[in-house]
Symmetry: C2
Subunit: 587 residues, 2 copies
């Protein structure tokens, strides 16, 4: 089983030193959330993740969730851990106090999401979708629905799901067939099949609240005829008590390469009672509230798994002896593999990406809070535009880098990484779902290029790049060489941006064939931007914590020398166009 | 279960049109191996791989090889298939007729290795190590040993293993502890533990012939005290019949992420009778005969798994509808995903790498045969130098690209790639061992840079690059634009080579930290070289098979536009040195 120590130090560094965002600091309700409080929360979070949840990873992998006699049974230990988890209030962390939540900002809850992803992604998914459902209901449902369902979801007694995918459609929701027929009393009855439903059924909660995209009987075809419905596993009586079972059955639980503790279900809806959330035929808008926040969290999953993979690689490299280092003294024995240059390079690659991602994520959490809570509408909108731009980037970069990092961890471990003992291969398998679900990374890249760069709110990407340049060009002598590197790469990214904007208008296939590369190029630059902000503080505050800041500066140095330049070949290869790709005959 | 059709067309194209290597064609014994014969062999090979062996992949994954009551049991169906496999003579394909072999050159047997890797890597491993053992015994043992052991190995009735790794040493063999004590009658008794022994024990053959690296009792420490021993599972009587069980027991069979049908064993040697092969204390030299050939075959494994992953991605892309293509006519339905630019790009990425690798491998097979069989010693040595240079490159590139390609296959399949049904996730898991075993890819990269570029035979890399340049600069107008691209990248590779040669002498850590990148840069160029040779033929012979050659030219075009340029960022990042890596304090 891998070891894990929550990186509270690095998290607190971000919270203490990089919370210097004027707009974020203007949000009234977060003014009293100070370092001491956050430190207490993270310390408690470390304990439950390290002690209670981490062991569930192996348990879930060895005893996958199963469907037996119509009942979905989670792995041994899940139920006890979940009970403790909700007793301690972890589901309520970021929820509104009005419904029993603790009202923590995403600057805090994102740290918790990361820890939980490190400890056990499978276990995390049971409550993660509940928060998604919470957000969707919170933003789009009537007060009646909110009062009836939210307190139980916040408490963790009921969980949530997001039901979109059907056999014929994952990416392409216009094709979906689940029907909702309006009854005389204003409720609907839903029929159809949903697949790949995470936490679709299980034995951890009293009730499961499904948020289902379906087509009302009189709605048009395509995506413009889709509405959103709340469909509980058990009907909830007017007094809030659990009523009869609704018309939903579990067809099967998928056998998967990883996240085996998570129940990925086929759900059959058969005249299931549902309540419309939001406006008719506007279901996708409401669902996207849930999906966008969820996509960022999937990015954080990649970060969390990367972190535990790195920690175990580092400790293994310090205890495994093999071969002689180049400059070793002629003694008898072998050296620890951490003395070897290529192992060190690999470890620094992981570390520099992880810490850069965490800093970028912290910046994004602040932007998200500004987008939701700032009093000034214009400020709010600008933050919202940045969040919308960076959502596909964070989802894709962090999960792709998760594949790279878990793979490097396996190489560091050699044969011991491939066998089951050390748990490294499980991290590799578990992480592998993250570039697929919540929209494959190619879907994210297309979303970025075709919808997020320039939209009805203007030229978002241009504003973003201008903002980075302003952030960097502070004239600080100590960060100068880093800033120069970043500026050189922003230059390339700007060329790439001009090229791709033109192609989005005039040659869509060129843009499609380049969108994955464009996302990567932007991602590497965004992480570099986050590193510049870390560096500013590290130089300024250097004397107060020399070891810590020296580590940051050297890690950033690696990122700028070895990681950031990787964006160049993305630019070069992607801008060769697509005629030769589109004309190819695949016989 | 994935489908598979052996790419006989492409293989026959290589055999027919790219066998134009003067030195290879001077090998007397291969002159009669003509196209018709090879076509017959490949057709038969297709049948057994597609019909008998392919189904074993799933069987082995679902019913891993187990150790029960001291007996290692292979998965259902393995024994029947193996019986058919040896009856049809597939183990003997490349072996010397003197011992019952068919005497086929590697230009043919490498195709068979590829097919078998596509069909079931786990099953393949049972006979693969037998061929390794065959080569080792053939080149280093006495006639007595050869006559006693080789016919049965060639026939497939006995199998072989390679026993190097011990708990304290995989990469670093100098540390190994297994002892061999000489007895009065000239034989040895071995004691010690070997781990990660592929096909170390199983129920497919009557006997298992272990080739074991051990230290004779009076030998020095370090790698210079290692000798090689033949240690049979059952003692073989003088008349060739099976005698009593030798002192070898199976401690355990590893649980692994993939290749679950393959028995990866812990073997305990307890006064086991063994016979020294080759000279005392020169065991590693003899073992390297086996390892070097084996490393190329591991590269071919990556190629084979890439091929089946590609085939299934292509067919899935042609049958799965999702989303609208950019220039689709406004009809109701979705388009097949093969209409989408980014899916096409992904498929071409796979295809262009796979076909380039296959062509490179064919070139390398010819070189290998020249290095073993050419009458002119100088010609032989030159070919041997090239084989030795390209061995780590092929092992590493093909297996790394196998990770990329199986991962892309999973993305093309979306959620259906991550669940067990389609078998894509198994390819992803099975391939993942290939960058680890037979020396991790980092070990290969260090081997390349520190031992293969320049050695006692001279400046091998320089000769290799000169040879590529000669091959390319034929003045052919039709390949001109491709050759220009390649020359530009050879230019970069030459700079990288000069840099790294200097670092090998004066700053070894810089070279170590750069060696993985250097290998990649060389690998991308080597595959491009193979493509140039394919292009020469494709243009020249164009009118005789337009569709086939047009496909080749367009696939090559993709490689030169989108794949080859990836080598540049390896050069740029790797040549930043290593001070900042070596000085880093991993606290």
């Amino acid at each position: 089983m891998p070891n894990y120590t929550a990186p509270v130090n690095d998290m607190m560094f971000l919270f203490d030193k990089l919370r210097n965002n004027k707009n974020y600091n203007e949000i009234e309700k977060y003014k009293e959330i100070n370092s001491d409080l956050v430190k207490d929360i993270l310390d408690e979070a470390s304990k439950i993740n390290q002690n209670i949840i981490l062991p569930l990873a192996k348990s879930g992998d060895e005893n996958p969730t199963v469907l037996e006699n119509g009942v979905v049974r989670t792995p041994p230990g899940y139920k006890e851990a979940y009970t403790k988890y909700i007793e301690d209030g972890w589901t309520s962390l970021s929820c509104d106090p009005k419904y029993g939540g603790q009202g923590m900002p995403k600057t805090v809850s994102a740290f918790f999401d990361e820890m939980l992803s490190s400890a056990s992604l499978s276990f995390k998914l049971y409550s993660e979708l509940s928060i998604g459902a919470y957000n969707c209901i919170f933003h789009h449902a009537t007060d009646e629905i909110k009062n009836k369902f939210l307190p139980k979801i916040v408490e963790g007694k009921w969980s949530g799901t997001m039901c979109l995918t059907e056999p014929v459609c994952g990416t392409d929701l216009g094709l979906l067939r689940t029907k909702a027929v309006e009854q005389t009393n204003g409720i609907f009855k839903l029929s159809g099949q949903k697949i790949f439903i995470t936490s679709g059924d299980h034995d951890l909660t009293e009730n499961i609240i499904h948020l289902v995209i379906a087509r009302a009987a009189d709605s048009p075809t395509g995506t413009k005829g889709l509405s959103l419905f709340l469909v509980p596993k058990f009907i909830v009586n007017d007094d809030g008590s659990i009523g009869p079972r609704n018309g939903i059955s579990t067809g099967s639980v998928e056998n998967k390469m990883g996240i085996k503790g998570s129940a990925t279900c086929v759900l059959n809806f058969d005249d299931a009672v549902g309540y419309m959330i939001g406006s008719k035929n506007k279901g996708l808008n409401a669902m996207f509230t849930m999906m966008n926040l969820e996509r960022i969290v999937v990015g954080i999953q990649g970060l969390g798994i990367s972190e535990i993979a790195y920690q175990n690689s580092l400790s293994y490299a310090k205890e495994r002896k093999q071969g002689k280092a180049n400059n070793a003294k002629p003694t008898n024995g072998a050296d620890f593999i951490i003395e070897h240059a290529d192992i060190r390079k690999s470890l620094l690659n992981m570390k520099s990406i992880i810490e850069g991602e965490r800093a970028l994520c912290f910046w994004l959490s602040q932007q998200t809070e500004v987008s939701l809570n700032h009093p000034d509408k214009k400020v709010k909108q600008e933050a919202s535009d940045f969040v919308s731009l960076m959502t596909p980037v964070v989802k894709t970069m962090f999960t792709d880098m998760g594949m790279e990092i878990t793979s490097e961890a396996m190489q560091v471990h050699g044969g011991y990484g491939y066998t089951n003992d050390q748990g490294i291969e499980q991290l590799y398998r578990d992480n592998r779902i993250t570039p697929i679900y919540e929209g494959t990374n190619s879907v994210q890249a297309a979303d970025l290029v075709f919808r997020k760069l320039v939209n009805k709110n203007g030229d978002i990407i241009n504003r973003y790049l201008e903002m980075i340049k302003r952030d960097c060009n502070t004239g600080n002598e100590q960060t100068k060489s880093f800033v120069k590197e970043l500026n050189d790469h922003i230059e390339i990214l700007s060329k790439f941006t001009t090229w791709i904007k033109e192609k989005v208008k005039n040659s869509k296939d060129d843009a499609s064939a380049a969108c994955n590369d464009y996302l990567k190029a932007l991602g590497f630059v965004s992480i570099a931007h986050a590193w510049i902000k870390v560096l500013e503080v590290s130089f300024k505050d250097y004397d107060n914590n020399k070891n810590f800041y020296e580590d940051k500066i050297q890690t950033a140095n690696f990122y700028f020398k070895r990681v950031l330049p990787r964006m160049e070949s993305h630019f070069k290869t992607a801008t060769t166009g697509s005629d030769y790709i589109m004309n190819f005959k695949f016989n």
